[in-house]
């Protein structure tokens, strides 16, 4: 980028001072509207009853740590990826494996199901995101039809199709996010603003929505306009890496899970953090978060092998789920909200309901 012309009198010092005063002003503006806490507003509503949530299915077959999973829109199929380089498509009702692909790299950190259910995308240490059309013929070699779509200069941490099979959004250890055309592999838009690895992204839940949120090792969560590439809002209250970001179902807020052992809720219209989900007894990082259908429950997977279920409005924990024998790396609620799936470093996936 060519050096921009400087206004008269601008130096590093004046810009730095301006930057500091703008940051202070931003905090001041946000604080003015901080008239109440979310859990105070929620005091009047009934507390939630006892939860009975159990493992209903265990999916065994990966030879190493499960790193990522995604649900198909048909609410029964699941794609999962692992450190061993395998990507498996499962029927969660029967626990049968329908497809398996061996990637040319290990640590496949990201996988996603296409909206049509006819393809999956995945990537990791290969720095790429590749799309595999799923064949009805189980004998067909899926790897033969592989299409390389995204190219980053460091590992792929997360990927997601947009509302169609035609575009994919990716985040990477190279500090950027990017939007790609699947057919041509062309880069449509890139998103710069994080100062360290981006670990997670989530698209806003709306047909017309054109924003997404990303979180990374710079402890920041950024909201982006997909068309302009502009970073429209930024939140920096976590004390360590943000491992996962997920939109609240209405699209007005998003949750984060972090290595600082807390999950937090940020409201986009209030432009600030509105809740922290933490306990003194929880000292391990939260790797993954997802909301139940109504947004009342937040499921969070932790590095201490547990899943904590939080009352989003009241800020209290309503259940702890035990079962995994190693870190929980990914948690996703099914598209119709009837169950959620967790993946773990114990090589298995579990369906809970």
């Amino acid at each position: 980028m060519a050096c921009q012309g400087l206004a008269k009198g601008e130096t590093t010092n004046t810009l730095k001072a301006e930057s500091e005063s703008l940051k202070a002003k931003l905090e001041e503006e946000r604080a003015k509207l901080h008239d109440v806490e979310l859990h105070q507003v929620a005091e009047k509503i009934d507390a939630l009853g006892q939860f009975v949530m159990k493992t209903r299915r265990t999916l065994k077959g990966h030879g190493n740590k499960v790193l990522c999973m995604d649900w198909c829109r048909d609410k029964r199929r699941i794609v999962s990826s692992s450190q061993d380089g395998k990507v498996i498509v499962w029927d969660a009702y029967t626990t049968n494996k329908e497809h398996a692909v061996t990637m040319p790299c290990t640590w496949v950190m990201a996988c996603a199901y296409a909206p049509s259910g006819c393809a999956v995308a995945c990537g990791g240490l290969d720095n790429k995101c590749s799309v595999y059309p799923l064949s009805l013929d189980k004998n067909e070699n899926l790897a033969a039809k592989k299409k390389s779509v995204a190219m980053h200069t460091n590992y792929l941490s997360s990927c997601s199709f947009t509302n169609s099979d035609m575009q994919i959004l990716t985040s990477s250890g190279d500090g950027t996010c990017a939007l790609w055309d699947v057919e041509s592999g062309q880069l449509l838009q890139s998103f710069h603003g994080h100062s360290a690895d981006v670990l997670s992204l989530d698209l806003a839940p709306s047909e017309t929505g054109n924003t997404f949120v990303s979180g990374g090792c710079d402890k920041k969560a950024n909201v982006w306009d997909m068309r302009s590439g502009q970073n429209v809002q930024s939140f920096e209250t976590h004390e360590s890496d943000i491992n996962n970001v997920k939109y609240y179902p209405s699209g007005d807020a998003f949750a984060t899970g972090s290595d600082d052992a807390t999950c937090r809720l940020y409201d986009l219209r209030a432009d600030r953090e509105v809740a922290i989900y933490s306990k003194d007894s929880i000292i391990f990082g939260a790797s993954s978060v997802d909301f139940s259908l109504s947004g009342r429950l937040l499921f969070a997977g932790y590095n201490d092998y547990t899943i904590n279920v939080w009352d989003v409005l009241k800020g209290t924990r309503v259940a702890i789920l035990f079962g995994h024998e190693n870190r929980v790396s990914t948690v996703r609620v099914s598209p119709d909200g009837t169950a959620f799936c967790s993946g773990s470093w114990d090589n298995t996936l579990r369906i809970w309901a």
Partner: protein, 68 residues
Amino acid sequence: MSSNSNLSTMKRTVEQLKLEASVDRIKVSQAAADLQQYCLQNASKDALLVGVPAASNPFREPRSCALL
């Protein structure tokens, strides 16, 4: 050269902060009320929250009763 790129980075940071500072914001009380309303309005459809009869949840029903 490096001082020029530091300057342009700083300029970009300042522009970014100006953009963020100019965002329209609402009060937390309003935002919280809206979040709460969304939860309550959709609570009845949330199977993990209110539970559904075991027969209608494909994951809860006994495996031997396979749907054809």
